[in-house]
Structures are given as C-alpha cells and as structure tokens.
Amino acid sequence: MIIEQHYDEEVLIGLLEEAERDSHAQSCDTCAGTLESLRDLTGALRDGSVWDERPLSETPSTKTTNMLRAFAGRAKAEDAAAGLIVAKLLSASPEERSALLEKNPQWRTAGVVRRLLKVVDDKNFSDPKLAAEISALAVEVAESVEAERYPFDTIMKLRALAWRERGYALMYIGAFPESLAALDRTDECLAACAVSDYDHARAGMYRALIYRELERFAEALSIIREARPVFEAYGDKKRVAVADSTEGLVLVAMRRFSEALRIHVRVAADATLDEESRACALINAGLCYRELALFSEAKRSYAQAIIAFDRLALVSRRATARWGIARVLFDEGRFEESLVLLTQVRAEFQELGMSEDVATASLHAADALLVLQRPAQVAHLCGSAMEYFEKAGLAYSQAAMTALAYLREAADKGTLNSAKIDHVRNFFKILPKQPNLLFAFSA
C-alpha cells in the first residue's frame, strides 16, 4: 500500500533485503531514512549483546565516583600549585633547573609536567629551541615523579605525553633521529596502559610527519591509515581531518598530486569541519591543481580560501593564499602580474614579521625578475630583504643575509640563474629550524 507517495513500514520491511532493486526506495529520502532505521534495528537484533539476559547492576559504584572525584580534585590542586614552581624553574638557567629539582623533590608532580608542556606548546613555533629545552625538563620531571602517588596508567600516560611532546619539539628543530627515539619511548610507556590506542595514534601522526621528511613515504602512509579510524572511533573529527590532510601532504611529497587533490577537496567540502581547516584544505588543493596544470581550478580554489580567511580575519593565511595565486600566474607565464602580486604578498609578510615567508616570497619574486630579464631589480630586492633581516635581528639573520648577498652578487655579475635561486631557497627552508646553519656557496 502506498500512502502519500511513500511506502508504509510494512512494505519497507518487505524491502529490507532487496531495497536496491526498488527505484523509489533508493531515491526517496523519507523512505530511505526509514529503511536505514529499520536496518539499524535489525542489525542490532543480530547482535548477541541484545539477547544477553545476565543482569548487570544498574547502581553506580560510590567507590568509583569518590575515586574519580578525588583524582580530579587532586589534579586541579596540583595544576594550581604548579604555576609558581614552573615560573621558578623557567627563571633559572638550564644547569640550575636540575639542581632546583634535586633540592625540591616535592616539585616533581604531574601538575608541573602538564604546566611545563603548556610552555612547550606555546613556544614550539615562536622559539623552537627553547621549546625543545623545556620539553627535556618536562621529561626529566615526568620520569622522576614518584610513581606510587598515582594510579599506574596515569603515570605511564603522563610520561608518554611528555615524551610525545618532546618528540614533536625535536622534530620541529629537525632533530629527527632524537625525535623518533622520543616517540619510541612514548610507545613503550603506552604499551602497558589499558586505554592507549588514541594516544598511540596521536604519537603516530608525529612519526608520520618525520617519515615524510625522511622520505619513508610508505611507512608514513601506513601509520596515518592506521590512526585515522582510531580518531574516527573516538569521534575526533578534527584529527580525522588532520590525518586526511597529512596523508595528502605525504602524497604531495611523493608527487602523487591527483590522489592528494582528491583528499584535500574532500576535506575542503566537509561541512562538519571548522572553516579554517576547510580553507587550509583549499590552499592545499590549489597547490595540487597547479602542479596538475589545472590553473583555473587552482585560482578558484585559492580565491575561495581568500574569502574564507577574510571572513575569519586570518591575515597571514590570506596572504599565503594570495601567494598561491601569484605562483599560478607565474606558471601560466603571466610573469608581470605574478611579480606585482608577489611584491604585495612579500610586503604583507614583512608587516606580519613572518621572516621565513619574506625570504621565500622574495626568492619567488627573483624567479619572476630573472625571467623578465631584470637582474638589476633582483639585486635591489636582495638588498631590501637583507635590510629586513638586519633589522629583524633574528637568530639566523646573519646566515640569511649571507645567502641573499650571494644572490645579489650573482645578479650584479650577470651570473644569476634559477639553479642559484633554488640553492638559496633550499637553504631558507632549513634555516629557521637550524639557525646556526652556515650557507654553502655553490659553484
């Protein structure tokens, strides 16, 4: 019987096993919805747990409630006390810190570890070297916390967390073998815990990033593909998207742009994600389109990202998307327009104090000037970038200025070519992570 052009429940039950043969059940949202709900129900009826008649106590255990509340209370108290302790530790020199911990064994608490890791998180991008230093201190405290004071799993998880964040801080400064060793220790700590798969997956994501840098692509992809369903099971949509995007980045590094593009487009279209994640995916999709020589699609993708970043008032991200368009214009052979945009973007990065991007955008502008046969302007561009680095007074200013001086000299002598620009570009990629790196002049 058909009511108001929808199947009734009776008909839909009859269709449960063969709905795909019925065109209406396939195309009608209402009927498809009821069918899905019936399938959920019959699926559950096939599960043994539904028919398990053993009674289970429905009364919450007072012991559990009290234990959990006591743990939460103690952790809060520890966190509150940790603020002052960490301030004292951070104001001391690295050598004095160990002595202070030795003198004050009561400072070795989970709260202090958490507070130190907060500092690591804050410093990872602004002062990576300091972050790595503090992460070592966090590990030292975590490893020496009096284990008997805490439930076994909580202490092992605390240590795993400290090692994982140390692994990340080390990865960020390019110390990959040390970082992998820290992540190995993370996994060791987690192995004994009852609930560990989520933390294991998170450490795995860091490991995948390192493997990408080390060009161990197959291992990176395998780890990401194991971690993704874990995040999914834990309802962590953001990390599912991060896993997808990371997979896309590994594929980009492998120059498998079509596959990477599919992933970034999917993330960008996922309405359940926050707008920033989606806009970042649009930028990554733009890069893949450009590499695949789909220039119109690349520009459209970057333009959509710009609109989103405008709305979110994320100025630096917006500048990055504009930079992407400049790169597309360059690949299209529209060098003059590319140069105009690159000059604007470079100025934006300069205003924002994003020195690494100032350098790289300058080098892209140098590429355009080289093609336009204006070497004198390359020399001028390098000169102005050198001024910027001198004023910025960064840890790696001197090395950056040396590299730029090398380019300026080549431009003055008329020996500048794209290989020399690439050489400097590769140097700038590593420099912020290894500020003491010396520039090697190429022949």
């Binding site: 599960d47 747990s49 559990t64 959990l68 907060k118 998180d121 609930v195 989520y198 099971a233 990371t246």
Partner: protein
Amino acid sequence: MSDPNVLEVNPGVPEVVLEGSVLTQTPDVGVLYEQYRDLLMHVACRKFRVPEPDGENLMQEVFLAYMQSEAKVENTKAWLVAAMCNASRHYWRTQARTESLPEDIHDHSDPMTHGLADRFAVMLTLRQALKYLQPRCRETLYLHYFEGRSAMDVARELDTTNRYAEKLIHNCLKRVREIYFSITSVKRPS
C-alpha cells in the same frame, strides 16, 4: 616539501595542553560517570563479555584516561565508548596470558567502526524494548534475526504456517520499533 605554499595542517598546531584539558573542563566527573555507566557497562560486559567486577575497574581506567586527555574532547560519548572497547580488548589480552580467551572474542572486538557509540546506544535501548514484548514476539525475533532462521523454519519452530510466520516477523519488528521509539522519545539514549 615541494612548495612552501603547502599549508601544513600539523597535528602539533592545535594542541592546547592545559586550557583544553578535560581536567580543567569537566564540571563533575562523578556526574559524567553516572550518566554513561550503563552504556559503558553494556559495552564491557555484554559486548566484550568482561566479568562485571572487572568491568567496573575498566570503567575507572576509562574515566582516568578521559580526565587525562589534554586535548579537547569533541564527542564525549564516542570517546568513552571507544576507550571502553580499547580497555576491554586490553583486558582480554592480559587475561590471555593466564587463561584462554572466549571462543567468540573476535565477534566482540570491532571498535574501529564509524558511529560505534551510537550503535551501542541503540543496542542498549533495544534490550529495554525487547523486555516489553510478548514472549512469542521475542522468540520470533530471536529465531529470525539472531539465529538467522528463515520464515519457514520459524513457522516449524512455532508450529504455525509459513504465511503467518512471515506476518509475525513483520509485526514483531514493527512492534519493537514502536516501543523503541516510545523509549527514545521520552529519554533519548545517551
């Protein structure tokens, strides 16, 4: 990296080690425990066949892990259910060192499925709904859906005609669905 324009959506970026911590966010972990206890006990004891006293111990591990999670938890129910699956599997792995595993353990360890928490919640509510069914209806659904018997087999078992058995299967399914919705409309499964 082949291009500096690639935006790294870095797993390290959004971590906020302390502000996002469940330790500082949970209003009262005791309330949360009471809210999710039935569902989590169902997962541990019925789905994974963990003995009840051990199930309660696993519950403590799960909530301690939840409180220690330094990143913001997006979906508490999904998080807790997935953690309980993990803890239950770990339980059996440890038990396997001293005694043999239940034969059907593999049927009970499939936590890597999308929407797992919701599926367990459906099962928990369905158990309740089945209690309100007539015994004959319960038996019909048990034979057809759980034991996988055909309508003809069900007819033989219940000593009735094939046609009536088919009708019974349909009607009982409709009835249990009706009861299921009447339960969830009063109190949605958490």
